[in-house]
Symmetry: C2
Subunit: 241 residues, 2 copies
DNA sequence: CGAAGGATTGATTAGTCTCAACGCAAGTGG
DNA sequence: CCACTTGCGTTGAGACTAATCAATCCTTCG
């Protein structure tokens, strides 16, 4: 019989194998306080002073930031296992918001429990640091994506990254995966307008690289897609040495 | 007589006051192994597996990433006190490079010494996490800057941020500060072309917002500059409780 | 049936890029 | 010491990417 792995365990195992004791600690910390957020509702708002570290257990969420004039930037996608600001309580106030894209089931971990995790074992400490550094590395790649790639490449890159991350936690089916973002969401994540995203997505479809409909993404030609996106997954640090 | 504060102490004090013991530990860790990098030389290269955590003591450096076709994105500026990947040794390989902008004096801290710092005192642990989270927060703001702001605003924002960060560590003189980036560097940091950066910098000058020459930046009208940049320094988390 | 959210299309404009050249200052070698 | 180079900033003209504005269509849902 297969052992149940919580999404957080699966996620942290990206760093390396954890001991049974560590896994139990994780299960426990993550099981105490579970909440549900409806799709399109904010989980954390800019200005909040969160007293809990949040861990996505199921569903998709996104970080976003808004400029005074209303422009919105989607900063990151949060998939099952992702930790929402390892140390939310170190910063007084959130400088951005987090919003559910689908119905999201997430755990709230108290400061005490989180610090217990942090110091439980050297292996777990490093796994949590690893997770934080991966978040940072992904953020750097997003900066590069928006700064350097053309619209067509940029959207292709987003698709490659999402697929790779979902694959790492076992949430892909063959060459396809869930993809709940609207074209407007993609636009805000890539720094483009919805209209232009629409045209580029159509181009990607027409070129036989992807299918995208009904919130589902198919990679029709993954190799070519990765090539046009100049996607090299090293920055996801998924290798488990 | 004034106590000497290393740039790292100054930086970490952004989180809150540290105890004398903590400060001594920092001084010691940072004093063991000091190196110099010439301007325009790489300090760490993509693909390296660094065995030391590096701390900038003096001078400016930048992180950058290159796409296969040669396009370059500057990801971050590193100023005195900045820690270069708190846990470089957790990731096997660097997915980007770090390059000196000016002559840089930096410390190399061994894994053992760094972990000793990390566990020395709760206050220091939190200060180092704080530093890492600030890095992440700045990276998010850069994503937003490139994704949402127009060229003119984007460059203005870069100027505001640099000035604010330098001010926090006492490296501004009145309304002016050092600014060793070339217009090409600014271009790679903002996702623009050097030619367009040139025109926008001229516009900023013409509008009486800044002066920029001989590697020196003057804010002529800081309030207006911050306004057009939509600069809100919250994301730098400089407030000391 | 009407309303609402999302995707799509077309026409036009604006912002930024590309290419190409030139100016200037500092550094270098004969 | 001068000719040459090199790096950086500046300027102009034209091309092109992506934004804007404005409809239309489709599906879902109350």
């Amino acid at each position: 019989m297969l052992e149940y792995r919580s999404p957080l365990t699966a996620h942290l195992s990206g760093f390396g194998d954890l001991g049974a004791g560590d896994k139990n600690l994780i299960q426990e910390a993550v099981g105490k306080r579970v909440r549900i957020a409806a799709a399109h509702s904010d989980i954390v708002c800019e200005g909040d002073s969160p007293r809990w570290v949040k861990v996505v257990l199921e569903g998709w969420a996104m970080r976003y930031k808004q400029l005074p004039d209303g422009r919105r930037q989607v900063l990151a996608l949060m998939l099952p296992g992702d930790i929402c600001d390892a140390n939310a309580f170190i910063h007084q106030h959130m400088d951005h918001s987090i919003c559910a894209l689908t119905t999201v089931r997430y755990a709230e971990v108290s400061q005490a429990d989180f610090e217990a995790l942090l110091t439980a074992s050297p292996r777990l400490t490093r796994a949590l640091w690893w997770s934080e550094l991966v978040t940072l590395s992904i953020q750097r790649e997003w900066t590069t994506n928006i700064g350097q790639r053309q619209a067509y490449e940029r959207i292709a890159h987003l698709f490659c990254e999402v697929f790779a991350r979902l694959q790492a936690i076992g949430l892909t089916q063959g060459e396809s995966c869930e993809f709940p973002l609207t074209q407007t969401d993609i636009a805000d994540a890539t720094g483009l307008t919805p209209v232009h995203v629409n045209r580029m997505v159509q181009a990607l479809r027409h070129d036989g690289l992807i299918e995208l409909r009904d919130k589902r993404l198919h990679l029709r030609d993954a190799a070519k897609l990765r090539h046009v996106a100049m996607f090299t997954p090293a920055y996801l640090h998924l290798s488990r040495i």
